[in-house]
Amino acid sequence: MAVSLWQRLAARASVPVFVASGKDEPDEIQDMLWQTGRIKLVFTPRHASLLVVTGQIPVEQSQSLAIIHDQLPHPRATLWCGGQPCFEFIAAKRAPSPQTLVASAEDLPQRIKETQKQLLSGKRQSEPDLNPDRPPAPWQGKGDHGQGGEGMMGGKPYGRPMAMMEADLRDGLMLDALEFSVGPFYHGLPAGLMASVSLQGDVILKWQVESPPFPTALPSVFVRALHQDTPLADLEIWRVRVHLQRLARMMALDGLDCAAVRTLRLAGPLPCITQAGLGALQKQVGSLEKHLRKRGFFALGAGIGELDAQQANLMGGYVGRACGMQEDARSTSKPYQALGFTVSCQDKGDVQSRRLQLFAEVHQAIALAAKAGREEVMLTHEEIETPVGRLTKRQAPKDHSEMLQSLLPGMEWREALMTLASLPVAGATREGGWQ
């Protein structure tokens, strides 16, 4: 096949990649790809030419992954990183070729670029559809005019029924509710969260969780601190990292791509930061915060996604503290007390205060890490305050997706997504489970 001029040009462009995150895989790979040149993370499979699956996709989600796969325009290919391919469940006859498996995350950027070149030069066939080429419901030749519909609103014209009326939560106009399921690979939602949603206009009428988000893997430092002496500075540095990553995702959702990537660049190399580096980090985070404050990043969240005391209590962690609760496992631990730790709080409990709280905790954690690093403080405690909630020997931070069902209805889509991004909805896990 002759390679056209377009394809030759295209081979030099940044590769548009859609990432589907699976289980047990923190968003590290996605964050890494964000910062890599010549790779462009896109929000929808329509804009991508490669589908990158990170981590293991559970069987229940493989159908959704197949849907995403088929939505990519040709030419397309799939790369599996850190998990086994799961498409056999759908298309048994078509075993994926071994070359699509990527062993380590470091190889991934290189493999992405190679695969794209092969696709464009025709060396590699574009992957065919996994799902059968059938309409969602048979319609041809049925109904009054052969369009599959009946009467005014009935039947399934062109394969789908029409939306039906539902009472509204806000202004009492009874109009059609748009029902669909969203996720588990929707960009603005935590990976794995799938919900069936009913919208009227922009407002969410119903949010039914179909599957909870994949549990996030807690950095092993926090687990270690339950059992043995761990440098307190490490704990705090990891806290900074997780918080910054969460903030970066919020920024990306607000369209602040540049700030998000800058934040990720700060967060990426943190685990091996030196004492001297901490001072510089403190300054950089400070200037980032100032930059964001001037651009209205915090003010944007004012009055959005307010939690009541009960919900905040349930969530705990920084969410509780953003709501004004003086609860922190660190305040009961001696080494922290010795370092002069005090609980910092916000008062409102909306997205704005959660964003402020995250930044405040980042600053605090950097200061604590610097001090603890100098004094080489070690810590073992039966209750550890992780960035996503409280951790004890018996209990990990829990999954809170159930709460969304009562929290999100009545919000507009944008507000709902901003709220979701500011909450640690997913539970935590570590290898081998908790028992």
């Binding site: 377009w6 329509r46 919208l199 997504l417």
Partner: protein, 310 residues
Amino acid sequence: MILNELLLPIFVVLITLILGAGVVDYLHHATSALGKQMSLRRSLNPLAPLYRLGLALSQQSVITEHPDRLNLRLAPALYFALAALGLAVVPWSADFIPADLVTGMVLWGAVEVLATVVIFLCGWSANAHLPLLGAYRYVSLGLSYMLVSMFVLIGVALPAESLQLSAVVESQREIWNVLRQPMGLPLFLIVGLGLTFWGPLDFASSPDLDRGISADQSGASRLVWQLARYAMLVAFSFMAATVFLGGWLGPWLPGPLWLVLKATLVLLILLWMGHNLPVMTPDKFISVAWVLLLPLSFVDLIWAGALALW
């Protein structure tokens, strides 16, 4: 005569839009890459827009289930046509004006409003929910920024005593409107962000809708939509440069060059805003537009009126 008065203007307008769209694409990605502290050599590569063009053209254009095909095709074409219509009334020099309409300002207002229709049509006709939500959000924006734009432009028409853009440029011989009416340009820039759903006012293809209107576009159909959007940004920059920065007026250099330079400046400001400001929440923007921006544009008009009489 035909050549000079008919073909040349058409050619100039279309070439400006297409080349301009390339420049917008280049500047947009280059500034974004610089903001992300990517490698300098790669982010400044002048051929990058061509690569992206190649990529878009080697991809298939997916069409959603049972769309309104006619409107899906027409929307990008009409959006681009509106950009062309807007640019057509902009004077390049004292004697080269593609279409010197007596009511150029009113026509620009019409372009803004018709753009709302076209963007809505683009989102509606895909018959998919994310584009649909994007389209409706955009209409809320389009209907609210429009009045601001018209007040600001009328403020500019007062000292010129005309709605003709060539007269507006002439009225800026002594002092540019950006200095004479200091609130005009900032308000008009907000209008520009709205018109091209750019940066903080990107309601139609916002990240929380996974790119909304564009969520189900790919390949060539996405390319033409992007082209039209960039072209509109170009047309707006030229308009803003003409109305507030004295258009082709300027010493030493020839008029058209001045115009291009000023338009590039406006473009860079818009791109900077796009990278640095968060996307507003759509429901807050209507309040802001009607309760804050509209009164501000009233004040701008009163200021312009008082100054014109004095």
